[in-house]
Subunit: 214 residues, 2 copies
């Protein structure tokens, strides 16, 4: 995974923050009130020093000898990642992947509000997808003038991805999660994050062969 | 995204190698024979110095003043990532996400051979999924004794993920691409790579708010 541009905080730190958040939610649900960085390491596989360094970008956290308050840390990380407020999201591509993403239970829990889904296929437009009705991508700009979503998930085939990205940018979207295996061309003000299944498998493959045999 | 353990080569380097590979394949299809690191930067958004550093882990590449041979670089990266040979992969979870993954056109192209799909749902077992027939996860170990897949894709709900991971480890799988939003517990010899849609969206969200308004 690479990113078209970064802020000052390293992207891997942001990724790990989201991992800590996931873990903290589990802890809260188990009614655990405080944790140590050593415990974070044991549970997440992320080094305790790394955990402390990741947090250090954002100020003071935790108390020496006491540890970190689970609920406090959770809400501070959610605030850092700006997922403590509603974020409206639109989905382009109503195929299997789009269906899987829209049904992902974690979205609502984290206040990502999927407000519309678009496709270019006449056989899909007008049909329901979960609680939404699939809309014609030709109407994206008009629809988003009202919806004002700034985040989009792009789950279309590679051949359709650039055209869909152009439409998203035109419609005022400034952050795109791209699942199509192509490098999108967007203005510098638009942040693209690429998820490539091939890339994920390639990293697995590399480690598979390097790992000791069972 | 984080990894339960790393080799000596940084994971972000491996991720970028897969990005370069994707780009090189496009170039080859456009009959472009050589490229410069500046051109890589322009096309992928990855800094030219970073590109050269990523390659430097693996020896000498390219010729000063000439650049990189597209086909040669492509085959060398494929070799580094060990995707120049067939890798058998099994899929656990035949829902929307599993269906999307199994139908992903890049897999075969890169010699990831999806040899079997398993699920625990009686309503799915025995039904076809693309060219495969969905098998009962209870038969996973027995089936993989013949298939000998070492890579698995885990695309099941969070509640089913740990049990499925245990079954995969039991069946000899040593590398798991996990889409379930939980931290799997596996032996140290098993490499897990987590893909979290929530994490991806959180990183987007962070940059969205930090980016200048359009």
């Amino acid at each position: 995974m690479y990113n078209s541009h970064n802020g000052k905080v390293p992207v891997p730190t942001l990724e790990r923050l989201a991992t800590y958040l996931r873990y903290l939610i589990d802890l809260e649900q188990s009614h655990i009130e405080t944790i140590s960085s050593a415990e974070v390491e044991r549970q997440t596989g992320i080094n305790a020093a790394q955990f402390r360094k990741d947090l250090s970008y954002f100020g003071e956290f935790g108390k020496p000898g006491v540890g970190y308050n689970v609920i406090d840390l959770q809400s501070r990380i959610a605030h850092i990642l700006k997922i403590d407020r509603e974020q409206r999201v639109i989905l382009v591509g109503a195929g299997n992947l789009g269906s899987a993403l829209i049904g992902y239970p974690g979205l609502k829990e984290h206040r990502f509000n999927l407000v519309a889904v678009f496709d270019n296929s006449a056989s899909k437009i007008g049909r329901p997808l979960w609680e939404l009705q699939i809309q014609d991508i030709a109407t994206l700009k008009e629809a988003n003038a009202t919806l004002e979503a700034r985040i989009a998930i792009l789950a279309v085939p590679a051949t359709a991805a650039q055209k869909a990205a152009d439409a998203l940018v035109e419609a005022g979207v400034t952050a795109i999660l791209n699942f199509a295996p192509i490098l999108l061309r967007v203005p510098p003000s638009v942040y693209v994050r690429n998820v490539s299944f091939l890339q994920e498998l390639a990293v697995l493959s590399y480690h598979l062969s390097a790992a000791p045999e069972n």
